[in-house]
Amino acid sequence: MPQALLWETLRHGRWSLPGCFLLGNLLPLFIYGALSGFPFNARDREFVVLQFAFLPIIVLQFAGGIIVAQGPMSRLYSAPISTPSIVAWHTLSGAAILVAETIAAAWLYNSLFHVGWPIFGPALFAATFWSAFQILLSGSNQRSLLSVFLAGLPVAIVCLWLGSRYGSFISPPKYYWTKVSIADFVTLASLFLSFYALTTYCVSKARCGERIPTLGVLNWMSRNWDAIALRNARPRRFRSSAHAQFWYEWRMKGIVMPILMAFLLVLVTIAGLVEWIAGRFTSDGFYEIVRMLGALLPLLALGGGLRFGFDLLGSQAGQREKQFVDVIAEIQIDALDSFQSSLPMTTFARASAIMTTIALSCLAALCLWFAYYLVFLALLWINNCLPNSILPIKNGSLYFLLTIIGPWTVAANTAVIGLSGRAAKILFSIIGLLAGVVVLLVLKLAFLPDFSSLYLYRGCLWCGAVLTVMATIWAFERARRHGFLTFRSLQYAALASCGAMVLSMLITSVRESVDAYPLVLVAALLTVLPFASIPLSIAWNRHR
Amino acid sequence: MQIHISTSDGVPIYQQIVNQIRYLVASGRLKAGEELPPIRSLAEKLVVNPNTIARAYRELEIAGIVEKRRTAGTYVSDQGSPLARRERTKILSDRIDQLLAEAGHMNVSLEDLIKLMQQRFRVIHTSRQQDVNDV
């Protein structure tokens, strides 16, 4: 039977396994390829950070492919196999594939770019990650966002633990994790086993169709939350349909980013407290982490933006006790749902509501982080241990600009993808484009090792910039023609675009490299583009 | 007022309503001057389009079985004996036609049929007497 399962996984995943392997490797290959033009020392701090950042990302993407290949555990519920066996075979076979892929990826980077990735550590990490991920899949149900967070805790724990191998828990990575000690191995093994046990528990509950009994605390919390929400539930009417739609978008999608940020802040605080108790707390280290969270905002915005297109928590009937993984399989990434389509709302009104929500969502997440940041800074100041460099000298001004505008740009543009109702096609096209560049890079490395890949990247960047300029102009023209933008707005947009170009020229004159110019230009244009592309995207989806 | 609609025998719904009301009136279960339920409420009760009920009421009105009064209501008409008798006769005639047709197919002669009817009448009459005596 286990051989049958393994065979089935491999056969079923003959597209998804290699596909996700390639997908996961795209980003590291792209970035390493970009850097390969310059001489670097793999021991540099930045490279450690890169490796530490890449590892969970690629492991997650590989895991996605394996999940698709394996299929949900629920399909075996009615078979005469005991629950522990089902879980064991899914976990073991999945972990084996994941470990193999991780090792292959590390070997790939090392041989192509000589970045010195360790092999053994990441492999163990991958295995433990997989078993923790199983809990996320089987333990969360889509009744409450809270269950997702709780079920995601094991994954967070594993990632935090990984961080500790690179330095302390909560400070940025300092050195590679090259030596795997016995203690590490034992810790990971015990984590693996305990996660396995938890997963078995969750799956057995799901198999009987029972809800997973959360701790009393959780029930108490959600009951109180409900009670509060009820008291504040609006008995009053909405002032206008615009208000109503904004309320809808906010409640359904806009709160995701601030909640994620709050969750991260809580996690960081807990990690900091743990470090304090362990006596390894350094104010400098913690400060850096807090500051980095701000830089994570655009990443949050990625998820938040996608949310605007995907109807994850579903409005279909009968989705009550489904597990999260089943819901993921049914994500409605297609047309606008039929209830929203039947409301008499213009595309312009819908677009305004969505854009307002995105903006406020980013702002809320930003304010949360900034408040936390200020509080911590104040604490440090009171205790007279302010860090030497409050802002990194090199990128200071840019940093804050990025933190404020960046999330909007990322969120709005990913929302455009989701709202178009053809997200799969668009995402695949983008990935295909990236893959094309990577293929070119690999070819170049194989056949023209002396030719500096710098030219390749420069060429791509300039092409991208030109395309973005053309796309922006086209989008605004179309939006204007459809009446989504008034002439006044068009003027403002033109003004903003020119301002963006001037700004990017000013910024790049400060920096040495002229390569940054197209990047900054594209970023500036992308900030303005959503005003036209969001209504266009919605209209494209609304009337198919 | 008990009316039952069936969609399985192909008879138009309004016709079923007309027939049943005629029967109720003729058999005395709907008395003269009694009000028929309003169109809308009967439509809801039977789960039938109000237009169908309206049509049925119209047919009954034309046949003189019911009448519409100005105060918006439909009432069983104050029928004298002739109308009631005519109704009863019509209903029984329809039944007899069916019986005769069947008998014809089975090749049973009229005399045999009448003899059979008398026989059945005696049987029912005596059993009814017994019921009465038992009670």
Binding site: F238, A317, R320, S341, M345 | V47
Partner: protein, 303 residues
């Protein structure tokens, strides 16, 4: 003799006019040069098997799909060009009862109210109590029947000129079905309001609809009033003098079956015509009956 509603019907322009509508999804043809007119007032039933094109047609009416060829006009407007003007007067209940799961009943009512100026709060409250919906209950916790009722509530409360229902009774127990049909019947009491519903439960359609259209493989194969259909579809049992293996063709017949000297014909035509046609081929009419809508549908579709 025209009924009251039919007199009313002919005086006003039709509420829905579809002309030559075609639609394909990749290689599959969903609608094939379809034309349909729905008059104002009354109940219009759209019947067809699964995959016949009912939902696709209703989607075009709501503007969710753009006409690839042909025109769609509701209240004289194109739903793609002027969605607000059209949708503001349409109440829609989708087949999958799509409602925001996270809202409470009360919140959903308030939310929908914001979009429709004609929303009648008193009527909405009446409906809510009649449907027995707890205002504080979350939509995701409602049972299937309650969900259908909720969907109907938010579609009825602003008294739409056109109520569009996609398979309103599917998946519901008889009690809830009665409720839904009852609500439909109450709606059409309002003057000039139209109900368009698609269903494959033909006995319900028979009870409630004034006019019917049968859609099959993307085409309308029959569109007429209920009365017309009943009057022009009859089943005749004929007896011939001699046994025949293949019975003679009767004018207007759709199908026939039987054996020996007794054959049953299902025909399209009026009673009188058919009887004379029967005597023309030398047969005696043994019995004649009307067809149920179910039988009409099955016969017409399998031709």
């Amino acid at each position: 003799m025209l009924t009251m509603s039919e007199k009313f019907l002919s005086a006003t322009p039709p509420i829905l006019e579809i002309d030559g509508l075609s639609r394909r999804f990749d290689s599959k043809i969903a609608l094939d040069n379809l034309s349909l007119t729905v008059p104002r007032g009354g109940v219009f039933g759209l019947i067809g098997g699964n995959g016949a094109g009912k939902t696709t047609l209703l989607r075009h009416i709501l503007g969710m799909l753009k006409a690839q060829s042909g025109t769609v006009r509701i209240f004289g407007l194109d739903p793609v060009v002027s969605p607000v003007g059209v949708l503001g007067r349409i109440g829609y209940l989708s087949e999958d009862r799509n409602l925001p799961n996270w809202m409470r009943v009360q919140e959903l009512m308030r939310y929908t109210q914001a979009f429709y100026p004609g929303w009648d709060e008193v009527y909405a409250e009446e409906l809510r109590t009649a449907f027995d919906l707890d205002p504080k209950a979350k939509v995701r916790n409602l049972s299937r029947g309650q969900r259908a009722r909720m969907g109907l509530l938010v579609a009825l409360a602003y008294r739409p000129d056109l109520l569009v229902l996609d398979e309103p009774s599917s998946g519901l127990d008889p009690v809830v079905r009665r409720d839904i049909l009852g609500a439909i019947i109450r709606t059409i009491g309002e003057e000039g309001h139209t109900v368009l519903f698609s269903s494959h439960l033909l006995d319900e359609v028979e009870r409630v609809a004034d006019r019917i259209a049968i859609i099959h493989q993307g085409k309308i194969i029959l569109a007429a009033s209920m009365d017309e259909i009943k009057e022009t579809h009859r089943r005749l049992t004929l007896r011939f003098e001699r046994s025949v293996t293949q019975p003679p063709k009767l004018v207007g017949e759709l199908t026939h079956e039987g054996s020996g000297s007794e054959w049953t014909y299902v025909c399209n035509g009026e009673s009188e015509q058919l009887r004379s046609a029967a005597s023309a081929i030398g047969a005696i009419v043994v019995s004649e009956s009307a067809l149920t809508l179910d039988e009409v549908f099955v016969t017409r579709v399998s031709l």
